[in-house]
């Protein structure tokens, strides 16, 4: 019997695209409160796996359990309601919206429950949530800017702020450090550590320094399968991991 602390489990989950099995029979288990890194060479199936978890894609076979509940048949928007939140690898913000409105769109999601909320939304509550999320990532001063005017690093932070405003239980970050400068990466690591105090984090990451800095455990994928799992130090020394990376 699994201990009660499991937040997320995938059971023999697979995704086939035509002749390609992008994810095959993956059993992944995340404990509540951990920061897990998911690494592997390009095309290993990392983004496909987290897409199956977030509900962007439906699995060919297998199941997804979240907080003990089978969510395999739930659509992406309902999984967000349960607390599974995904941030995109390719920055996906509303470029025509202000920074504030980007986050408000996420924040109002939690406030729209009853019919009366639709007619008279508690705008002050939404504003508090927006301020908290933007303050956490350090973008509050830029709230009135159109999102398209932000520097790339700030756009990535806005993406994280939108995720925070959804109050995630499980936050999935898809290559958050990609394209960031060294100083920005330090800031990001601090931010993820802050977030991890309240949420479980699953982060896809290529930058090994970031992985070593953040993750309690690391899962390695190659060709759609998990080939290794362990602490960052164990993974660094793992022969098959080195083969998967060096054989690229």
């Amino acid at each position: 019997m699994a201990p009660v602390t499991a937040l997320l489990e995938t059971k023999a989950i697979s995704k086939r695209f035509g002749g390609l099995e992008a994810v095959s029979g993956v059993d992944l288990r995340l404990d509540r409160g951990e920061v897990r890194a998911l690494i592997g060479p390009n095309g290993a199936g990392k983004t496909t796996l987290v897409s199956l978890i977030s509900g962007r894609l439906n699995p060919t076979s297998g199941r997804v359990l979240f907080a003990g509940r089978d969510v395999t048949s739930l659509r992406a928007w309902d999984r967000v309601g349960l607390g599974i939140v995904y941030t995109f690898q390719i920055t996906s913000i509303y470029r025509g919206f202000s920074v504030y409105d980007n986050v408000a769109l996420a924040a109002q999601r939690r406030r729209l429950r009853k019919l009366s909320d639709w007619i008279a939304l508690d705008r002050q509550a939404v504003a508090r949530d927006v301020e908290a999320a933007l303050a956490t990532v350090g973008l509050w001063a830029l709230r009135d800017q159109p999102a398209r005017a932000l520097a790339y690093g700030h756009q990535r932070l806005l993406e994280v702020a939108m995720a925070l405003a959804l109050r995630p239980e499980l936050l999935i970050l898809d290559e958050p450090s990609q394209g960031l400068a060294a100083a920005e990466i330090d800031g990001l690591c601090g931010l993820v550590r802050d977030i991890a105090r309240a949420a479980t984090v699953l982060v896809i990451e290529h930058n090994m320094a970031v992985v070593l800095e953040l993750a309690g455990r690391v899962t390695v994928m190659d060709q759609g399968r998990i080939i290794a799992e362990g602490t960052p130090r164990e993974i660094e020394a793992h022969a098959e991991v080195q083969k998967a990376y060096l054989g690229r």
Binding site: S54, R56, R75, A76, W77, D78, V80, G81, V85, Y86, F88, S92, I93, Y94, R95, G96, F97, D101, A104, L105, A106, Q108, R109, R111, L112, D117, W118, I119, L121, M162, L166
Partner: protein, 311 residues
């Protein structure tokens, strides 16, 4: 400020009837009803980002729902209006369920095909609908607190048209400033992201099609009541293209754009058709100029340059 501006525009329209010559009363009444139609269309195009070429189906659903009920069942104006709106609601919800399985150009084509089928049906059943000859309704009147108001009376016509337009404009304004408005704009900008922010995007698109269709049906019903006529011309492709042109000219995704677009285009057609039979060239040139130099439309251009707060 925003609400004030909109109320100001409505007050201006109310005041206009005191100063403009009688000929323009009928013209402005027609423009206000068609502007309500354009506003309904704009909700879908400008906010949810879905371009339909089938709105004549919703407009004429309101028209036939009201007109047939009055003509055959002898119901009063209020009941007829209500039936028109219900017809529009039913058609819009059904069409939404079918067409929203598509997106982009396919959505445009499927809405157009369904609207053509609807149009041909109004011709096929010409024993009931009167086909393209249509039929005339007579003696329409509104009972208002014991007073009997003939809808053919120019002053009544003007003010009923204003009331219909005001209701549609204010509903539109409220909707786009509500949480739903933000979600609709989000659909237009990035549907995938919106789904991953926890919104059931299919449901919001269906809502957008339905509300847009109902407002169009309200306009269609009002048109029939005020101009005492029902005919399949209003179900034809031209009446699906018009609201698109009005919204683009005035500014898609602005609340006041549809009024401005309808006003400018209707007067342009009126003035130029008095001068030449080739007036459509002038209309076409205006549209080309708009798309070249103010692609956001008149109100959209004003918003981009001077008034970013315009909804």
């Amino acid at each position: 400020m925003t609400l004030g501006l909109h109320l100001g525009v409505l007050a201006l329209l109310a005041g206009l009837q005191l100063v403009v010559p009688p000929f323009h009363h009928g013209m402005l009444a027609r423009i206000m009803v068609l502007a309500a139609y354009a506003a309904g269309y704009n909700l879908l195009l400008g906010y949810a980002g879905l371009m339909s070429l089938g709105h004549a189906m919703f407009f004429s659903a309101g028209m036939y729902g009201t007109g047939l009920a009055i003509h055959y069942l002898g119901v009063g104006v209020a009941t007829g209006f209500l039936l028109g709106v219900v017809a529009g609601l039913a058609v819009a919800a059904a069409v939404g369920l079918i067409t929203l399985r598509t997106a982009g150009p396919a959505f445009l084509i499927v809405t157009m095909m369904l609207a053509q089928a609807f149009y041909l049906a109004t011709l096929y059943f010409n024993e009931i609908t009167g086909g393209d000859q249509g039929f005339i309704l007579s003696g329409l009147h509104l009972d208002l607190g014991g007073r009997r108001l003939a809808l053919a009376d120019p002053a009544v016509k003007y003010n009923v048209a204003l009331a219909v337009f005001a209701a549609c404009l204010l509903l539109n304004l409220w909707l786009v400033r509500s949480p739903i408005g933000r979600i609709l704009l989000a659909l237009r900008e990035n549907e995938e992201r919106t789904r991953l922010l926890g919104y059931n995007t299919s449901r919001y698109k269906l809502l957008a099609v339905t509300v847009s269709g109902v407002i169009s049906a309200v306009a269609g019903s009002a048109y029939t009541l005020l101009f005492s006529y029902v005919g399949s011309t209003f179900a034809g492709i031209l009446y699906s293209i018009y609201p698109l042109l009005w919204a683009l000219l005035g500014g898609a995704g602005t609340t006041l754009g549809p009024l401005v677009g309808t006003l400018v285009m209707t007067y342009l057609v009126d003035v130029t058709s008095g001068l030449t039979t080739a007036y459509l060239i002038v209309v076409g040139a205006t549209l080309v100029a708009t798309i070249l130099w103010v692609p956001a439309g008149i109100v959209g251009g004003i918003r981009a340059r001077w008034a970013p707060w315009l909804p």
